[in-house]
Symmetry: C2
Subunit: 348 residues, 2 copies
Amino acid sequence: MPPVTELETPCILIDIPQMQANIARMQAHCDQHGLDCRPHVKTHKVPEIAQMQMEAGAVGIACQKLSEAQVFIDEGFGNIQIPYNVVGPSKTARLADMALYNRVTVSADHVSVIAGLSDAAAANEIVLRVMVELATELERTGAPVSEVLQLAQKIDADDHLHFAGLLVYPSNPIIRPALQEALDALHRAGIGVDIVSGGGMDAALRVHEMPELTELRVGTYIFNDYGSVRRGLAALDECAMTALATVVSRPTSDRAILDSGSKTLSAINDKGVYGFILDYPDAILYNLNEEHAFVDLSRCDEKPVIGERVRIVPVQAGVVSNLHNQLFGVVGEAVEAIWTVAARGMVW
Amino acid sequence: MPPVTELETPCILIDIPQMQANIARMQAHCDQHGLDCRPHVKTHKVPEIAQMQMEAGAVGIACQKLSEAQVFIDEGFGNIQIPYNVVGPSKTARLADMALYNRVTVSADHVSVIAGLSDAAAANEIVLRVMVELATELERTGAPVSEVLQLAQKIDADDHLHFAGLLVYPSNPIIRPALQEALDALHRAGIGVDIVSGGGMDAALRVHEMPELTELRVGTYIFNDYGSVRRGLAALDECAMTALATVVSRPTSDRAILDSGSKTLSAINDKGVYGFILDYPDAILYNLNEEHAFVDLSRCDEKPVIGERVRIVPVQAGVVSNLHNQLFGVVGEAVEAIWTVAARGMVW
């Protein structure tokens, strides 16, 4: 394989030793707290990388969409959680096909979602594993705690559904009283809870305050990103993903333009910063167009020249993987693996 | 082909009659002002769509990256402008290979960029067409007006380069004095200017104030987007691209969650708004996670139910195409074409 110096830019590099260290550390963290580790593969979308997470001790994987899950099922993955409301007859039929042999667990936050799952499971003559999602301070999906028991009972009473537990995102300690209330109600109703699945990067560091959890869904930890660094969740040298970019223009003494725009780094920013340039820590990546990155060099003593290559830690790793057809696994300046982002674009 | 009602969501619909009307209107606008129309294909990345633009009268196409251009060359496109500094020996060698038969014109804003182009052209024994990019108020790439003559002379004096004209982005009237100064200097030096290429959606509407232009590079006009609408450049019913999404959760009376997150719509927003929901004009799409769109329904009299499908006008069309493997060309509720986004992810 070509060395890093011969790769075309922009491209995405994954530091293999750092990624392996990140995998090992999160697995050890889960082991220490008696939690099953369930990596969310939406961060990388690469079956070979998910396999490394499984070999390190993960109990299974999480996928955010059916088409993403299908890619991993086709590669032989067997314990897949889809923490998402699967809605509509076409989607629930696909889910029921995937869920043969108990391979797939799904979540629901409403009776109408459960009814759709039941119909599809009945049509396929299977029993489908369904978790109930509890609403959190994120105010995204999830049922209020007052409805959790009713939803669980509906699943439990359905011949074609199995109540597989509770799901929370993020599982920050602020949600613990509601989680305890839901668990108490289920216990008093005589409904067993197999799994209490939490998730989120911040929440991962506070699982000791959430003893009700049995498993942790985490994605970004495998690469980390500048968003993690800015939130104090990772150090810069724990970031395994970088974008390799070339300086294509130096129009003024204080400005550089790189070939890594929003089609390379995504338009996600952290308070107006679109990534961190490792080679020029005082430079500020302050804007992106589709194929141009704008860099302010005014605080830099040394400044890059046209043609120079730099490495950028992206703000949000999971959307970056999804923009690229390949990720380049590197050890120092050697390319050791070229991974196809097999589940890229799998939003259906 | 399946009707729209049977497409899996999220997916991207292109209203074919509206797209054709947009193509015809921009071509007529260019014709009226005596300008060559050069569609920027980065907006759609689909050769079949570029072919429609050519058949409507376009002089050629613009591509933002080499790998994007290669896709269109492989499909037989022959007049391709790459308004970008192509930097580094590998990239310039690829460019020189593509530029056989005068198919490709490139731009440059610095002597070191020109030197690299010259070396590659000499190695391939071709003459490469090179434009000089003039800096604008955008403060992106481009040489200051004081350097344009020197750069043009360097190109003009090179046996393997041909000075192909000036390039400006955006070509708003504010840049006219600098453009006139550059043209005067070239004229006095006896250097002919084949092409003065402008670009930009706003600038397109003001070409009558920029009589120096000979051609217009425009991309977004083919679809329009909510960003165009917010800037007063297009009406909502002139937007040909919509994302078809499903309501997957209704956690509260005022909130809906759609299955179209930042991996479907991109994270680009216009002052905190991530798209416009045609079916619920009073709804506000106020946040995106990777696979979730957050909608505020508090101002809506009618509210969608779980499973309902809605159409969203994205904020920036060009980054949306790049996230998807297919675009669905529709006429009413019929799918008439499924276009592969052949140049998706082509950032090299």
